[in-house]
């Protein structure tokens, strides 16, 4: 059961990737949007996927790898189901962003750029989320949370 399920899943993803590749065929400067959409599908950038993109664009694998490792948005390892991004911007720094990071790190028992054993959360930091008026802030997936204190953290994590 499990096996055919995961095989099915892999097929769906491969099909989605093929569609994306088709959509960008012949577009100038397609590498970054391609990587973005591939990561959307797989949650990260598996090596085989990067190879396939290189083949499709007829560029060396090294260039794909170079771009994928240059930008912080791209991930070469699998990540958790929910991505926590804690803002480390100036306003958040001045208003206790470091304490927030510490509180979440302790609560989840993982450090920066690590994933919980159950794959529920990945903890990341980000340079600035641009919600400085509500500092300190964090984002979980697409949701932004502001005016945080370490005390507010457990209730928020609970929701995911």
């Amino acid at each position: 059961m499990m096996d055919s399920g995961s095989k099915n899943d892999a097929n769906i993803k491969a099909k989605a990737l093929a569609e994306v590749l088709k959509r960008y065929a012949g577009t100038k400067g397609a590498l970054i949007p391609l990587l973005q959409e591939a990561q959307e599908i797989y949650g990260y950038l598996p090596r085989e996927v990067m190879r396939e993109i290189a083949m499709e664009l007829k560029i060396p694998f090294s260039r794909v790898y170079g771009v994928a490792t240059f930008y912080t948005q791209f991930h070469l390892k699998p990540r958790g189901r929910n991505i926590i991004r804690i803002c480390q911007g100036t306003a958040c720094h001045v208003r206790g962003g470091a304490r927030l990071l510490e509180a979440i790190s302790t609560a989840l028992g993982i450090g920066k750029n690590e994933t919980t054993a159950d794959g529920r959360f990945t903890l990341e930091t980000v340079a600035c989320l641009g919600s400085c008026g509500l500092a300190p802030v964090m984002m979980i997936n697409e949701e932004t949370y502001g005016r945080l204190t370490p005390e507010k953290v457990p209730a928020i994590l609970e929701k995911y």
Binding site: Y71, V94, A127, A135, T144
Partner: protein, 616 residues
């Protein structure tokens, strides 16, 4: 073109409010403050009472400190804005304002009367402390219109400028008008926009591009996000005018991926403009064509630098290259390219509509018009403001933002992000314009303004920025790659109490070398936070080195926690809270902290009910 005029007139006629409207600020900050829960509460009350009322969404009006913000407007009455609206407050608010028709003045922030007679007891926007000194041009629609509606944009004067440009002006006249306005680039460096446009216009080549830099990466800055989320059409109209002026038929908006809502609204706006013939082929029935695309950044601060940004659009690593050739000659895919930032383009329709003289009448001799700033950090009222150039820092921080939180002592204001500097109290009367800020060791930058109080350590702030630029350095040129690393090492050492006095000289020399020799703007400006803090706050550096003390009690390694034996009741709460087992003592007797074991986390201080623990 005639169609557009008629459409606008129809839209304006239908804009009159004939039933009550409730509007909730739902930009990223409004959402983060819980705006969606407020909407849910509003909808629940509306259904329960069976009220005939529209519930709408708008963008950020700029009072971040008071989010979530809700506007209630009755037909023919002023628009009233309420702050700090919680779901619990919603029923009372609706009952009083909507059902009884009496606004709740103690919860109201401001009112916008329009043609109606103002309510009593609520500040009118133009006379309020927060908005009284502001001049809203680029931000004039923010929080007051539906950013996703092309109809509202057109009804409030949108696309009048493009109509004027395509109907009556040559490209040269457009550039001339921008030159007269004195508009300078709002992304940081302040290069005259009209001149940039004419370079790109004059550059030989059939294919040209216009690019909008929306890669707002400065920590502490969200002007561009607010404008893109709040008035995306103004940026699109500005870019369309620029394309006409320089002779381009294609453009890109490069927006950072951390702004999903801005990207979503831009996509909607582009689709709507295309549908109405305001983008694409034969715009407004003329022979002018302009296609606009969005590129989402992938997380690299250096892509805010124009040549790195172009490399990124081309699908490469975002690394800067040597200029010249400037993008105006050789930009995207080697073609002449005009790059401006969001706020610069957003100013263009207003300049064209009103004319260059009108814009030039605001501001100072060399810095014209207004500038949008993000006021954050330890001020009472954080938010987004737009002020005429030349206003003083003191007016911004103390009059508009209401001074320092908890009435603490002002220490410094950081302007211009990682490329900017920290200015102390005696620079507060400085007029805010490009040149004055440069002379003082800061820069206008994109407009981030982070206020710091006595609890902020200036050495730590310098370390914070260097940590940022060191991480973001692309590694192409040696001064920046190596220099940022070495400077960060020295700053970290000083924060840990391991610095030596000669470190300060090394730091200063290194900072000057990097400033003079780095390849791009990131490297050339990254020493500014160090140089400005060394200039104005040298005593703090010296205290860290000579006395091994952090005057702001912020650098953890230099803190000492002690228990006041007089106040300690021996309750043992601190002993239980201490994760390091550093606190000992008999029950009901004063306790002690062993400095050798203490990890300086401060947990004991938070737990002590008697205020017996202090941080030195």
């Amino acid at each position: 073109m005639q169609d557009l005029k008629e459409w606008r007139e129809t839209l304006q006629r239908h804009r009159r409010v004939d039933r009550p409207v409730i509007t909730v600020g739902m930009s990223t900050c409004g959402q983060a403050a819980g705006g969606d829960r407020v909407i849910a509460a509003l909808e629940e009350v509306r259904a329960r009472l069976g009220l005939q009322v529209d519930i709408r969404q708008t963008s950020c009006i700029g009072m971040c400190y008071a989010e979530p913000i809700v506007e209630i407007t009755l037909p023919g009455k002023p628009r009233v804005f309420y702050g700090d609206v919680t779901p619990e407050r919603v029923p009372g608010l609706i009952e009083k304002h909507l059902v009884q028709g009496e606004p709740v003045s103690e919860w109201a922030l401001i009112q916008v009367p329009g043609e109606a007679a103002p309510y009593e007891g609520i500040p009118v926007i133009t006379q309020s402390t927060y908005y009284g000194r502001q001049v809203r041009v680029v931000t004039s629609r923010l929080g007051l219109t539906d950013p996703e509606s092309l109809e509202e944009y057109v009804a409030t004067g949108g696309y009048e400028a493009l109509e004027k440009v395509l109907g009556q002006m040559t490209p040269e006249q457009v550039i001339e008008e921008i030159k007269i306005s004195g508009l300078r680039g709002r992304g940081g460096a302040g290069f005259p926009t009209g001149m940039k446009w004419s370079f790109t216009r004059q550059a030989p080549g059939d294919k040209k591009y216009v690019v909008c830099n929306a890669d707002e990466g400065d920590p502490g800055a969200f002007m561009d996000r607010s404008v893109l989320e709040g008035d995306p059409f103004s940026v699109i109209e500005g870019m369309t005018i620029a394309a006409y002026a320089i002779g381009a038929d294609e453009g890109y908006i490069y927006c950072r991926a951390e702004y999903p809502l801005a990207i979503k609204r831009l996509k909607m706006a582009i689709a709507a403009a295309e549908e109405k013939g305001l983008l694409g082929r034969n715009i407004l029935g003329t022979s002018f064509n302009f296609d606009l695309h969005i590129k989402a950044g992938a997380g690299a601060f250096v892509c805010g630098e124009e040549t790195a940004l172009l490399a990124s659009i081309e699908g490469k690593r975002g690394m800067p290259r040597v200029r010249p050739p400037f993008p105006a000659q050789q930009g995207l895919w080697g073609k002449p390219t005009n790059i401006n930032n969001v706020e610069t383009y957003a100013n263009v329709p207003f300049i064209i509509k009103n004319d260059g003289q009108w814009f030039a009448s605001m501001g100072t001799e060399k810095s014209k018009g207004t500038k949008v700033f993000c006021l954050t950090g330890k001020v009472k009222k954080t938010g987004l403001i737009e002020v005429p150039m030349g206003i003083t820092l003191r007016e911004i921080i103390f009059d508009i933002a209401g001074g320092i939180q908890d009435d603490r002592q002002f220490k410094a204001v950081q302007i211009g992000g990682p490329s900017g500097g920290c200015l102390p109290e005696d620079r507060l009367d400085l007029p805010v314009d490009y040149d004055s800020l440069n002379r003082a060791g800061a820069i206008m930058g994109s407009g981030g303004m982070v206020v710091m109080d006595e609890n902020t350590c200036m050495v730590d702030v310098a370390r914070f920025f260097l940590d940022f630029t060191q991480t973001e350095s692309c590694g192409k040129c040696t001064p920046c790659r190596e220099g940022t690393k070495r400077m960060l090492e020295i700053l970290t050492r000083i924060c840990e109490g391991k610095g030596k006095m000669e470190d300060l000289d090394t730091l200063e020399t290194l900072a000057r070398v990097v400033k003079n020799t780095a390849l791009c703007g990131l490297g050339q400006t990254c020493p500014n936070p160090i140089l400005s803090t060394l200039q104005y706050f040298r005593h703090e550096y010296e205290a860290h080195i000579k006395d091994k003390r952090c005057p702001a009690h912020s650098c953890q390694a230099l803190l000492i926690f002690t228990i006041d034996a007089e106040k300690c009741t021996g309750c043992g709460a601190c002993t239980r809270a201490c994760p390091a087992g550093a606190i000992s003592g008999e029950k009901k007797q004063p306790h002690q902290i062993d400095p050798a074991l203490c990890i300086k986390c401060g947990s004991c201080m938070e737990k002590c009910k008697y205020g017996a623990i202090s941080r030195l």
